[in-house]
């Protein structure tokens, strides 16, 4: 049981990294990034290839994942600069699908649909429970670091301008903000964070494959961030852990409804997940932690 909880926490931490990435690009910068799974994949593959096939040390792999995510983010951002918000969504979604297609079809580069297995791990696997505890410590530390970074950014003038750009680009540009610079910075930083999440995921499960990066994961993270509050790093983190807790807890509803077949139990579970989310949203339309504004100092 303990292992299971630790495991769920590790997955929750990976989700928390992804959620923070989304919080930055969507919540703060207003860029509807449906391509999250793509950046997740880029990071996972970058680190997996480098450490498994290139035998590089893991920290180097993680750094490479961050860099790869950031660079790809920059490319995507620049190629979509002129797009309106809603339209960015479809193009980024397309980007994630393209990443997945390349990963499955370009066998020479990525190992194809077989994926890459035997990726080196953060803590030796034979350490038993310490494997999970150690991995959790490392990944949670990354979550905390990103959290501190984002909190700092959010409270800085940079974050304030970014929020302004999210609200109205025209007015923000009249206020002298370079829309391109801010968006590119936010988007590629977010992509880099997603890349790191991918790297850690690979180094924990030892396996990456194109199937891992289906749009479902992006949807999950959107749900997590929305439920937690999309403009607060803490909201994103809490949302991510809650989501995993919720996803795991719903497994047990099948036991409450005997007499249903396996498919029915599985569909019941997804029904509960969907309804649960809509319920959270309808009671807290701004998520659990709503956006905080900078208060004027008292005179």
């Amino acid at each position: 049981m303990l292992t299971y909880i630790l495991f769920a926490l590790v997955i929750g931490s990976v989700y928390a990294l992804l959620a923070q990435s989304l919080m930055l690009s969507w919540g703060l910068a207003g860029l509807v990034n449906l391509g999250l799974a793509g950046f997740f994949a880029v990071g996972a593959y970058a680190s997996a290839m480098l450490t498994t096939w290139g035998h590089a040390p893991i920290p180097l792999g993680v750094a490479a994942a961050m860099l790869a995510g950031g660079l790809v983010g920059l490319v995507v951002c620049f190629s979509t600069l002129r797009l309106r918000d809603d339209y960015l969504a479809i193009v980024t979604l397309g980007f994630a699908e393209i990443v997945r297609l390349v990963a499955s079809n370009e066998v020479w580069l990525t190992g194809g649909t077989d994926g890459i297995s035997g990726i080196p791990v953060l803590v030796p696997r034979d350490a038993g429970i310490w494997f999970h505890a150690g991995s959790l410590a490392i990944i949670a530390a990354a979550v905390a670091a990103v959290y501190l970074l984002l909190r700092r950014l959010l409270r800085s003038p940079w974050g304030r301008s970014l929020r302004a750009i999210r609200e109205d680009q025209t007015v923000a540009s009249v206020a002298g903000k370079s829309i391109v610079r801010f968006k590119a910075q936010a988007f590629s930083l977010a992509a880099a964070i997603a890349g790191v999440a991918g790297a850690f995921y690979g180094h924990y499960t030892s396996y990456v494959a194109p199937d891992l990066f289906q749009p479902l994961i992006t949807i999950y993270i959107f749900l997590a961030v929305t439920a937690g509050g999309n403009a607060r790093p803490a909201g994103a983190v809490i949302g991510a852990y809650l989501l995993v807790a919720f996803l795991e807890a719903t497994r047990f509803i099948a036991e409450l409804a005997p007499g249903v077949s396996a498919v029915q139990a599985a569909s019941l579970r997804e029904i509960v997940v969907g309804l649960g989310l809509v319920l959270v949203l309808s009671f807290r339309p701004d998520g659990l932690l709503p956006e905080r504004s900078q208060k004027a100092p008292a005179l």
């Binding site: 509807v32 190629s79 979509t80 002129r82 797009l83 309106r84 809603d86 339209y87 969504a89 479809i90 193009v91 979604l93 397309g94 980007f95 699908e97 393209i98 297609l101 390349v102 499955s104 079809n105 025209t170 949807i219 959107f222 749900l223 929305t226 077949s261 498919v263 029915q264 599985a266 569909s267 019941l268 997804e270 029904i271 997940v273 969907g274 309804l275 989310l277 809509v278 949203l281 309808s282 339309p285 701004d286």
Partner: protein, 287 residues
């Protein structure tokens, strides 16, 4: 050359399958100003309604199509009324996310009831009619005609009735619309019902062409969304144009490149089109 012509025809045919749900999606967007991602599941729900009527009750296909429209319209309206409307407070994206979640719910309700089995309509399959080097399926011709009729009907409905104008007015400025005597909730429900109904018909047309399972709508969700965006979100003729373009581009990809990259090419076309025309093929300029 023949291959190109044939691919063009095939593209138009697959375009019609996308056009009807894209129309529904765009109509909903035009009035409620949010992308309703539940349309995939609504298409599935409609297709299953049609299936029950056709196979379960043994009624003919035209009746089944009407059933699909009605069934999906009811589900869609219920969804809006029961769940999505109250998410509107949190903004359009909140509704979009909510629709994603509710889509998941509907799809799984269908799965709960019908299971994952593949089901087919009671409809004989005809061999293609061959004109020289070109071949076309009679069923697909039927679909094409049906889709065109639906598009014309929707267009006429929106532009010739005052309801269409009220819909645009609500989309633009709901408070002012209320002051002018329009009930925005009613308009929203009517729109959602029509849009969802169209998705239901779309799902059924796909089912008639292939077979249905709980994922039937989900599989085309992406292409439908892409078609609507390509045409300009909220533009009715745009959705149709976008659907045909996506359909044709995808078929040409099969000819020119690996069919596995069909989606990728589709997206690159979208990117190019949107870069040249930031508001889509026929979309109106925002702001």
């Amino acid at each position: 050359m023949d291959a190109v012509l044939q691919a063009l025809i095939n593209g138009i045919i697959s375009g019609t399958l996308l056009a009807v749900p894209a129309l529904g999606f765009s109509a909903i967007f035009a009035v409620l100003r949010f992308p309703n991602f539940a349309i995939g599941a609504l298409a599935t729900a409609g297709a299953y309604c049609a299936w029950v009527v056709n196979v379960g009750l043994g009624l003919p296909i035209p009746v089944a199509i009407v059933a699909a429209f009605v069934g999906a319209a009811l589900v869609g309206a219920l969804l809006e009324y029961g769940a999505l409307e109250r998410l509107g407070r949190g903004g359009a994206l909140m509704k979009a996310i909510g629709s994603l979640a509710m889509g998941m719910v509907i799809e799984n309700i269908v799965r709960f009831i019908f299971g994952n089995d593949l089901r087919a309509f009671d409809l004989p399959l005809a061999r293609d009619i061959v004109f020289g080097p070109i071949r076309v399926g009679p069923q697909q011709l039927n679909n094409l005609v049906l889709a065109l009729v639906i598009m014309a009907a929707v267009w006429a409905f929106l532009s010739l009735t005052s309801l269409g104008r009220s819909m645009r007015a609500v989309a633009d400025n709901p408070d002012l619309a209320r002051l002018k005597g329009v009930n925005p909730r009613f308009i929203a429900l009517v729109t959602v019902a029509i849009g969802s109904g169209l998705c239901g018909i779309g799902g059924t047309l796909i089912g008639l062409d292939t077979a249905i399972d709980p994922l039937v709508g989900g599989r085309v969700l992406l292409s439908v969304f892409a078609a609507a965006v390509l045409g300009g979100l909220g533009s009715i003729p745009g959705a149709v144009a976008g659907a045909f373009l996506i359909g044709i581009v995808e078929e040409f990809t099969v000819l020119a490149l690996s069919p596995a990259y069909r989606l990728a090419v589709g997206f690159i076309v979208i990117l190019v089109v949107l870069t040249v025309r930031p508001s889509g093929l026929l979309g109106s300029k925002a702001n």
